[in-house]
């Protein structure tokens, strides 16, 4: 089994804007993600991080370069990759458990087995009690847990999360991190799944990631290894390594100057 699950080589992607102007969303981005790694992609809005995730997903195809997952070029969406979207993607016309079963049903898993798997993952995200509820009866945080359970139940070994917890409150977000990390670290077959998690929340990235890719203006501008032990808490964020990383990240995001101790305002608000 190869070490690298995702290999992006010189990926470029252009879009035509409504006024027909060509916009370069990604310019010659190359990187590789190892199996079992938890990678966060951080960058200011409009930097191309969501585009990059969609290219791994196969929902978009590159204008130039190649994207390969598990050794095969990406030609479209597939169930070897699972995606948790920023907006609600839970099908409102299916009961919660039927949502979690959806991917399994697509792949022809028989009824008893898919119900067993779906129940298992609903239990692991703490939603057994609403298995037969309609999605409209659930809160925003619960819907996110349904979405996470759905991609895990589907068995994809590459999980793509596009600012999944951007719209939930702080407490719920922290609980969702725990759910996600638990599912990630308790892989039943022993092999951890690979996670690519897009966010613009620096603290979120530091709590979750083994590695943080920083993007800006359609390019990869940094690649940080986060070696702090797990489980991480808010206290972990106060450790020297984390503070250093945080300064680097905030600098990339344009919120801090390169040397925080230097004269002048430490916090610069981007125009």
């Amino acid at each position: 089994m190869q070490k690298d699950v995702i290999v992006a080589t010189e990926i470029s992607r252009e879009f035509h804007r409504a006024d027909r102007q060509l916009v370069q969303a990604l310019a010659r981005v190359s990187f590789a993600v190892e199996r079992g790694q938890f990678v966060c992609i951080v960058g200011p809005s409009g930097c191309g991080k969501s585009t990059l995730l969609q290219l791994i997903a196969g929902l978009l195809l590159p204008s130039g370069g190649t994207m390969a997952v598990n050794g095969a070029p990406v030609t479209g969406p597939g169930s070897d990759r699972g995606m948790v979207f920023q907006k609600d993607s839970v099908f409102p016309w299916l009961r919660v458990i039927r949502n979690v079963e959806y991917g399994l049903k697509c792949r022809g898993v028989d009824k008893a087995e898919r119900q067993r798997i779906a129940s298992l993952y609903l239990e692991r995200v703490g939603l057994s009690h609403v298995a037969w509820a309609w999605p409209r009866e659930l809160s925003g945080g619960m819907l996110k847990r349904v979405a996470v359970a759905t991609v895990f139940a589907n068995g994809a070994d590459v999980l793509l999360l596009d600012e999944p917890f951007g719209a939930v409150d702080y407490v719920t977000k922290r609980l969702l991190h725990d759910v996600l990390l638990t599912l990630w670290s308790e892989a039943e077959s022993g092999a951890r799944r690979t996670v690519v998690f897009v966010t613009h929340d620096v603290d979120e990235a530091l709590i979750l990631a083994d590695r943080i890719l920083v993007m800006n203006g359609g390019r990869l501008v940094d690649d940080l290894a986060v070696e702090a032990p797990r489980p991480r808490t808010t206290d972990s964020l106060l450790k020297a390594e984390m503070v250093r990383h945080k300064h680097v990240l905030l600098t990339h995001l344009g919120l801090e100057t390169r040397a925080p101790a230097a004269a002048g305002p430490a916090l610069r608000v981007a125009p």
């Binding site: 929902l59 597939g78 016309w93 697509c106 309609w134 999605p135 991609v151």
Partner: protein, 286 residues
């Protein structure tokens, strides 16, 4: 009793409308031809008029027809209403079903692939612009004046509405549901059956209600020309002899059928849409 209390106002309005009609019948006593008032009062509609519908009973079931020399009777009148209604409804619902299915399929084809869009879009746009009722004589000549001609006519009238409704509704399906289904491994066919169809249904309710109305109009239009049975046949036959009261009674029967079909549809769709937030649900007419 609860039902009466809840619908007190509606019932009073209905009774008021019936009373106004009665008053009008007493004020405007003009007659179309001698013995046929322009505004027939209820005492005429529910006695003489009802009885006269016995003329359209073909005989059978132990109730002889007027044509064979029997007296007009209420059993014959009721059987007449039932049999002509059945004829019309079989034409209507067969046409609705065919038109609904074919129209939905064509509507989905517009978004299925570039190739099917090119194939379907233009001809359907073209067919849509043809005025429905002006097409009645053409359909009669092409498909005959029997069952097939009427069913195809209703199916055509309903089908074009469905195509337009489905095309619009599909455009409004949130892309995220389609992306999510594809990421979970759904084939295009499965995306259509498990994502597109359920998510267009709420918007399609308006189309279905509209097509029920158009369907009634179409089946009557078809029966006006050359039918030997059906409610439209009774209306056009009555018109020739200026039997205004009979036309009015048949119109009342239409209102009854249309109300029942709207009510049934509202009940059914409320059941199918229990997943929707309450704000988006239709309130039952009952």
């Amino acid at each position: 009793m609860n039902w009466l209390r809840r619908h007190r106002v509606s019932l009073l309005v209905l009774l008021g409308m019936a009373a106004i009609w009665q008053v009008l019948s007493m004020i405007f006593t003009a007659e179309a031809v001698p013995g046929e008032p322009m505004v027939p009062g209820w005492q005429i509609v529910f006695s003489r008029t009802l009885l006269s519908l016995a003329d359209y009973w073909q005989g059978g079931l132990g109730v002889p027809s007027v044509a064979s020399g029997a007296e007009r009777s209420y059993p014959a009148a009721l059987l007449s209403i039932v049999s002509h209604s059945l004829d019309t409804m079989v034409r209507l619902y067969t046409g609705l079903l065919i038109g609904g299915i074919v129209g939905t399929a064509l509507g989905l084809a517009v978004s299925w692939s570039r190739w099917t869009r090119r194939l379907v879009d233009l001809p359907v746009q073209f067919l849509r612009t043809l005025p429905l009722l002006a097409m009645v004589p053409l359909f009669q000549l092409w498909f005959g004046i029997d069952f097939l001609g009427k069913v195809i006519f209703v199916a055509y009238g309903v089908g074009v509405i469905f195509v337009a409704g489905v095309v619009n509704a599909v455009k409004n399906v949130p892309q995220i549901y389609i992306d999510n289904a594809r990421m979970l491994g759904a084939s295009r066919r499965r995306v259509y059956t498990t994502v597109i169809l359920p998510s267009i249904f709420p918007e399609l309710r308006a189309t279905i209600l509209l097509s029920l109305g158009i369907g009634w109009a179409a089946v009557l239009g078809a029966e006006y020309l050359g039918a030997q049975s059906g409610l439209g046949y009774i209306i056009i036959y009555s018109e020739q002899f200026a039997y205004l009261d009979r036309m009015f009674l048949v119109a009342l029967i239409f209102i009854l059928y249309a109300s029942v079909s709207y009510w049934l549809f509202a009940r059914l769709s409320a059941k199918m849409l229990q997943w929707m937030p309450r704000a988006g649900r239709i309130t039952a007419l009952g």
